[in-house]
Amino acid sequence: MSWRDNLRKGRSHLITVAILLVASSVIVRIEDSALQREAHKPQPRNQMVPLRHASPDVLAADPKRERCGDVPSGRRPCPDINRRRPTD
């Protein structure tokens, strides 16, 4: 079997990866935006820019930032709080 055929047989893995990447990126952006709105923070100029790309000043100003303090700084993604807890 050719390389192309083998790749075709394994396409479900690649499709899954693509869906995972796209979906997670969309979800993180939506949640970030919602979080920004909820925290009354100024939105990034482009609404679609996630918070992890925001300036350190913005992150420092977030009172709930410590929730993701345990994430390695190199991949610190965003303020992570459970704003949708049932008890909220």
């Binding site: 079997m1 075709r8 690649l14 979800i27 939506i30 918070l51 303020p79 459970n82 949708r84």
Partner: protein, 601 residues
């Protein structure tokens, strides 16, 4: 006589997957990466992500994830490397297959057993003819025996017409295993080839497999089972063309240009056994842990006798004192050979009182007994090339019976005579058998994975702290690495079928677990070889229920989110919606299978 499968006679089996050292290194690197990221993710799930306000939901899910992760470690070990057992030339004399030179060296003798119960006689005739056509490069003594547990005169006549031996008995004790045992008592070949009524061996099977027995420790050789009647389906281009004319063809062709060939209606029961034989079983050769699956396997008679004796000894060991003395009385030596034969037969009947009621588990149980022996150190071999063809289940009822036999038999051993903790097996063998049993227990955590999105969609309660960056930062690297690892690890095969089949067969797994825990005696009808007519919606109601509940849940959650009611977030809705969609797609394959009918030839 016309059979539906005659239109597939021209089909040839696929070649075994070619091993590439570079490909294997890539797989191993990705697998290690995936396991490390997985450990990091699971650790984070336990320590930092649980929604303790909904512990009733969060805890079972994280336990399910941990169990699945443990299964992933075992499966990765299983797939780690391909190391085929070295092939050797076919032996000319029996002395070449024994550790000690025999008193009289002679050509090898092989008994081919074709076990039947109620299958169509003409179907068995095809198997007999193929067995008779087996060739060998040296003089050899091959005897074909039809083992008829149906005691049919018509079957006897077919055997006579074909010039092969006919063996029957006056009871059905032990089902197939009992049938084989009865035949063993009446035959004397050095090797035994086990065939089902529909097993059509290729002429080369002995030439390609007897060489392994030059190693006198090799107990059996299992060859891959290949279903030559699996529907191939039609391409998406043709399928859309039939329904929407030229625009449909264009659309199908465009999709297939991007994604490659897509077949509709292909393998409706996700039977394709290549994943099991060419990947899972073959890669157990390195651990000496490939197990016997019955049909299309060749056994050293000495090894089979060894298993029988061990089973018999175990039966005596487990028996009550009264039973024990009865058995010992039965097997004591007698002067009269007829009386001794009768006593042996009676003892064999007693032996049926072992806990192994599921005849299909005899295959894996025999393998375990052989592997456990510390003095003899028997070896098992999975021969990578297909050497026979057989028929696949043609309806959901048959498929369900078959899967239930596998699950029930294996779990019966796990719960009642667990070899993983018993002495004898090497570490690799223990892990491989644990992998088999663990995969059958997977129904328990698969239920959780199927219900989790439904629970969120109906209640708005997330099992994790939040579906935000932190969650995806931990989950995504693991999930992506895992997909890429198995793309490399199963290179050349579609991993989707196995995944779908594993997830969608959860009701069978649950039923088997429940039956085995309750020590329920289950009666197995013989797996039919021909299509059973009927509607099998009753067999897939759990899958249908999951689909409906997920759809209703999504509608409910979307409505609530739109109206601002409840605790739904857009992120949670998308994440669980996609998870639910994945579950629906998996379940839909089984539901579609319930309605599947072969196209008219």
């Amino acid at each position: 006589m016309n059979f539906y499968f005659q239109q597939f006679e021209h089909r040839r089996p696929p070649e075994p997957l070619r091993r590439s050292v570079i490909g294997e290194r890539i797989w191993q690197l990705l697998a290690i990466t995936s396991l490390i990221l997985g450990a990091w993710y699971i650790g984070w799930r336990w320590t930092d992500s649980l929604n303790w306000d909904a512990a009733w939901f969060a805890l079972p899910l994280v336990i399910a994830e941990s169990c699945a992760y443990f299964g992933l470690i075992l499966f990765t070990l299983n797939l780690w490397t391909t190391r085929d057992y070295p092939r050797r030339p076919p032996p000319e004399r029996i002395g070449q297959c024994l550790a000690e030179p025999p008193a009289e060296d002679r050509p090898v003798a092989v008994d081919i057993f074709i076990a039947t119960y109620n299958e169509e006689e003409e179907l068995v005739r095809l198997s007999i003819r193929d067995a008779k056509a087996v060739s060998y490069p040296h003089p050899i003594n091959v005897q074909v025996h039809v083992l008829d547990d149906g005691r049919r005169e018509t079957m006897r006549r077919v055997a006579k017409e074909e010039g092969v031996n006919y063996i029957t008995r006056d009871n059905n004790v032990g089902f197939k295993a009992g049938n084989l045992r009865n035949a063993m008592e009446q035959t004397h070949g050095d090797f035994i080839m086990i065939c089902d009524a529909d097993t059509r061996v290729f002429p080369t099977i002995l030439e390609h497999t007897l060489g392994y027995f030059r190693d006198s420790d090799v107990a059996f050789v299992q060859t891959p089972q290949w279903f030559y009647d699996i529907p191939e389906g039609i391409t998406l281009t043709n399928w859309l063309g039939q329904r929407a004319g030229r625009p449909g063809r264009w659309m199908g062709a465009a999709v297939e240009t991007i994604f490659g060939e897509i077949r509709i209606g292909e393998d409706p029961f996700v039977n394709d056994p290549a994943m099991f034989y060419d990947i899972i079983q073959r890669r157990r050769n390195v651990y000496n842990a490939a197990f016997c699956c019955g049909a299309a396997s060749i056994h050293r008679r000495e090894a089979v006798m060894f298993v029988a004796l061990r089973a018999f000894a175990a039966a005596i060991d487990k028996a009550t004192r009264e039973d024990k003395s009865r058995l010992l009385r039965l097997i004591r030596p007698r002067k009269d050979p007829e009386a001794e034969a009768l006593a042996r037969w009676q003892a064999a009947q007693e032996q049926e009182l072992t806990p192994y009621k599921f005849h299909v588990s005899e295959d894996i149980y025999s393998s375990i007994v052989l592997h456990q022996d510390r003095e003899r150190r028997w070896k098992s071999v999975l021969h990578p090339s297909v050497e026979s063809k057989m028929l696949s289940p043609q309806d959901l009822l048959t498929w369900t019976i078959q899967r239930f036999k596998y699950a029930g038999g294996s779990l019966d051993i796990f719960f009642h005579d667990n070899p993983v903790t018993a002495p004898g097996l090497s570490l690799g063998q223990r892990l491989m058998y644990l992998n088999t049993f663990w995969s059958y227990l997977g129904a328990l955590w698969n239920v959780m994975f199927l219900c989790a999105p439904i629970i969120y969609l109906l209640t708005g309660i997330p099992p994790v702290d939040a579906y935000t960056g932190d969650f995806f930062a931990h989950a995504l690297p693991f999930l992506v690495a895992n997909e890429l690892a198995f793309l490399a690890g199963t290179w050349g095969l579609s991993g989707y079928k196995g995944k779908v089949s594993y997830l969608a067969s959860f009701p069978i797994g649950l039923r088997a677990i429940w039956a085995v825990i309750r020590r329920q005696k289950i009666k197995f009808p013989v797996t039919p070889k021909e299509r059973q007519e009927g509607n099998y919606l009753n067999l897939v109601w759990p899958q249908l229920g999951i689909m409906i509940a997920t759809l209703l849940g999504f509608g409910w959650a979307a409505g609530c989110y739109w109206l601002g009611v409840g605790n739904f977030s857009a992120g949670g809705l998308i994440a669980n919606g996609l998870w639910g969609l994945n579950n629906i797609l998996a379940m839909s394959i089984m539901v579609k299978a319930a309605f599947w009918k072969p196209e008219e030839a």
